[in-house]
């Protein structure tokens, strides 16, 4: 039995100073935390350590000798720098969707919409798209250059806010709907947003109300089907590094940096009062509401926060690739992220990360590799890389059938998913028990009705352990119905 000993001095401090000292304590405490985790969750810690070491060192090793080895000696299905960068991007999205679907239990089938919003935010704020004006602020572009050009580290927070706002806007009217209807509505949103981006290439309208007149003629709002390019790449002035698609492995580490921040945020949210509120809502929304949890607002928060993670991912993707178009944002992408979450372990941050890394690898490296090798052996055989969603669809069906909790299950979700069959059985058993008890106690009441109002001892036939067992008074009253 442990008790919290509250010292006289408040160990938490106040304000920024307090926060910084807390951060410092956490950082210095990392070795101890690691040792403790290793002791308590040996397997998981080792697995995660290996995964982290591989991820961190791989891009460098790859560029140093692995890639040339694969080219010259023996072709290996090695992920290239773009793929590993996308592992980071999808990792951020998987964590975001995990907040919505894993923590709060809301199925969002249109997650790609927020990805698109993040990407187009970067496109609007860091490209020559708005050619008739020029706003250049701390960017790697000469003054007077057409378009708006803000640096990446300002664009990311803006993308977070805009994507999060759209998440809130979508959620506000729809989170009252039940699960499957909500899923369909989010799917709709996920379709409408890219369509809007695709079709606003030639906007003309006139609007006048009194002295106010707005007239636009043939304004190219979103770049249409061709999209917007070029988009400024993230730039680090001190080291003169550009993080675009032709910059080798540097963007991987930028992605990794954002991913680590995403993981920290998600973990902190999980272990807070809001995380507990999400868990409670997922388990029994009505009871949570009765205990004072504002369920609508809490669900809305999950939705908006989840969306903002996709905003980060989108802005990174657009800046990294240097271009964006609505073709990048299909329904299949929403489902791909969902599969990552389900495959990896819904509700478990590390699980969904594993899912993201694994599926990005399979989709972008492994299947194309198999396709290439098959091409040489059997040229007419279909290329598996083009039929990736045949596998992913089968994975979904199989996962839901055999292991819905994923490979690194979150213990609660695993229990909930298993509970559904067990609870049905238990409920039926209780029904049967109650009926038997009722017959016995009815007989007792017939014999002596006064025991209803004036008990002197334990009545016969009472089952004292089942949750639905009733005292004889109750059973008699039920008889009256």
């Amino acid at each position: 039995m442990t008790t919290l000993v509250v010292k006289d001095e408040d160990p938490y401090g106040h304000g920024i100073g307090g926060w910084l000292s807390h951060v410092g304590a956490v950082l210095f405490g990392i070795p101890d935390t690691y040792r403790r985790e290793l002791r308590l969750h040996r397997r998981r810690t080792i697995a995660l350590t290996i995964m982290t070491v591989i991820l961190v060192t791989y891009p460098i090793l790859n560029s140093m000798f692995l890639a040339s080895f694969s080219r010259t000696v023996f072709p290996l299905p090695l992920p290239d720098d773009t793929t590993v960068t996308f592992m980071m991007i999808f990792g951020i999205m998987a964590i975001g969707l995990n907040i919505v679907a894993g923590f709060a239990g809301l199925l969002d089938l249109g997650y790609v919409a927020f990805y698109a919003i993040g990407a187009y935010t970067a496109a609007f704020l860091a490209s020559p798209h708005w050619g008739s004006i020029s706003i250049v602020f701390l960017a790697n572009v000469p003054q007077g250059f057409p378009g708006i050009h803000l640096p990446f580290w300002i664009i990311v927070p803006i993308a977070i806010i805009i994507a999060g706002t759209f998440g809130a806007l979508l959620g506000a009217p729809t989170l009252r709907l039940r699960g499957d209807y909500l899923a369909i509505v989010t799917l709709g949103f996920g379709e409408i947003v890219p369509v809007v981006f695709r079709n606003l290439a030639d906007v003309t309208f006139n609007f006048s109300l009194g002295p106010l007149t707005i007239a636009v003629e043939h304004v190219n709002l979103t770049g249409g089907p061709l999209g917007i390019n070029p988009i400024d790449a993230p730039y680090l002035p001190f080291a003169n590094v550009i993080f675009n698609a032709s910059a080798g492995y540097a963007p991987v580490y930028l992605g990794m940096f954002l991913l680590v921040i995403a993981i920290l945020f998600a973990r902190n949210l999980e272990r807070s009062r809001i995380g507990r509120a999400w868990m409670a809502i997922r388990e029994d929304e009505l009871a949570a509401e009765m205990m004072g949890v504002n369920t609508l607002r809490t669900k809305l928060l999950a939705f908006a926060l989840g969306a903002s993670f996709a905003g980060i991912a989108g802005s990174l993707q657009a800046s990294y690739l240097g271009a964006t178009t609505s073709d990048f944002f299909q329904f299949s992408t929403s489902i791909l992220v969902l599969i990552m979450v389900i495959l990896g372990g819904i509700g478990n941050i590390w699980g969904v990360l594993l899912g993201a890394v694994a599926l990005t690898y399979v989709d972008k490296t492994f299947l194309p590799y198999v396709g290439q090798q098959l091409q040489q052996i059997a040229p007419s055989f279909p290329n598996p890389a083009q039929f990736n969603f045949l596998f992913f669809g089968l994975i979904l069906v199989a996962m839901m059938r055999f292991r819905p909790e994923g490979f690194l299950p979150n213990r609660q979700r695993a229990a909930e998913l298993a509970a559904h069959t067990q609870a049905d059985v238990e409920a039926k058993v209780d029904e049967i028990v109650a009926v038997d008890t009722q017959a016995e106690t009815e007989a007792a009441i017939e014999a002596d009705p006064s025991i209803i109002l004036d008990n002197t001892g334990p009545p016969p036939g009472q089952d004292e352990t089942g949750p639905d067992a009733r005292s004889p008074e109750t059973i008699d009253e039920e008889r009256k119905l």
């Binding site: 199925l107 089938l109 009217p173 729809t174 709907l177 699960g179 499957d180 209807y181 899923a183 369909i184 509505v185 709709g188 949103f189 379709e191 409408i192 369509v195 809007v196 695709r198 079709n199 299949s332 489902i335 969902l338 389900i342 279909p382 083009q386 039929f387 969603f389 045949l390 992913f392 669809g393 089968l394 994975i395 979904l396 069906v397 839901m400 059938r401 819905p404 909930e416 998913l417 559904h420 069959t421 049905d424």
Partner: protein
């Protein structure tokens, strides 16, 4: 004005095809509360199977004599309906029945996976490009018989009506008047009680999928003969419209599905004509979202069980 009427006629034809598919959605939802994501793709498979039968097996063309044409088309309809019915029952058996007691969203996710599987199978077998057949019907305007030249009703459009309307009537009769139809309605209302009353719930659900699958197959045949073209992702657009029809009419409600489908046929036709096909899908989605948010029970909002 002529254009409006013409658009209306086009909308009617599309609406009837939507109706056949929408019934599949609404029947399945009414009985197990599952949005069968893969249903639109089953419809696409129906059109693919029909195309294969028409073009490769029976070798029909515009020059085939009328009697033979009609006979073979009926045969194609029958074969396709049987095929899609069988496929649907199989899918239910392997992907949805094991999840009957799982959390509500599990079968939905499984259905999404199934949808991708069906699409990719079609893509694998038929290739990514549009597949087409020649027009089999004469191109005369049926209304020219009445001296109307400015508005056209083609043989294809008449064909759509001739096939779909009897099927709709047959389905209504089946659900209302037969023992199995009653079993379906009872299961839709309360599966456990229906089971206690002696209804074989598994069989009834399988029957629902069978009927829904058959209707989707018929719709597929009609589609390929009407539009002369099919493609592996055809199911998305038709599925979206059919599902929205079902929701608009009141999901679980058969007549609602038909009414909703007719409305959506018009929305599609008028949007394609007067706005742009680029926006039509987005508009249909907007309608879907609006119905779900503001009136989730739909326009005719009743359950399959209350149909009597």
């Amino acid at each position: 004005m002529d254009q409006v009427i013409q658009t209306f006629i086009i909308g009617l034809s599309n609406g009837l095809i939507f109706a056949l598919v929408a019934l599949g959605y609404t029947l399945v939802y009414g009985i197990i509360e599952l949005i069968n994501f893969a249903h639109g793709d089953l419809f696409m498979l129906g059109s693919m199977i029909a195309l294969f039968l028409i073009a490769s097996v029976f070798g029909l063309s515009a020059s085939t004599p009328a009697l033979e044409l009609v006979g073979v088309i009926l045969l194609v309809i029958a074969i396709t309906m049987i095929a899609t019915a069988a496929i649907n029952v199989t899918i239910e058996r392997i992907a949805y029945r094991p999840l009957r007691h799982a959390p509500k969203l599990a079968p939905l996710i499984s259905a999404i996976g199934m949808s991708f599987v069906l699409q990719n199978i079609a893509n694998l077998i038929a290739g990514p490009a549009n597949k087409s057949i020649d027009n089999l019907f004469p191109t005369t305007n049926l209304l020219s018989v009445f001296g109307i030249e400015t508005i056209a009703v083609t043989f294809q459009q008449a064909f759509v009506a001739v096939v779909t309307i009897p099927l709709l009537i047959a389905l209504t009769w089946f659900v209302d008047k037969t023992k199995q139809g009653r079993a379906m309605r009872a299961t839709a209302q309360d599966p456990d009680t229906a089971g206690l009353m002696g209804v074989d719930v598994n069989r009834t659900i399988a029957l629902t999928f069978l009927i829904g699958g058959a209707l989707a197959g018929a719709a597929g045949v009609v589609q390929i003969l009407y539009n002369n073209v099919t493609v592996w992702n055809l199911g998305f657009r038709f599925g979206l419209n059919a599902f929205t029809s079902a929701v608009l009419g009141g999901i679980g409600n058969l007549s609602g599905a038909v009414v909703g489908a007719l409305v959506l046929g018009q929305i599609n036709a008028f949007s394609d004509r007067y706005l742009s096909a680029n926006w039509t899908n987005a508009i249909v989605f907007a309608v879907l979202i609006a119905v779900l948010v503001f009136k989730p029970t739909g326009l005719l909002g009743q359950q399959l069980a209350d149909r009597a």
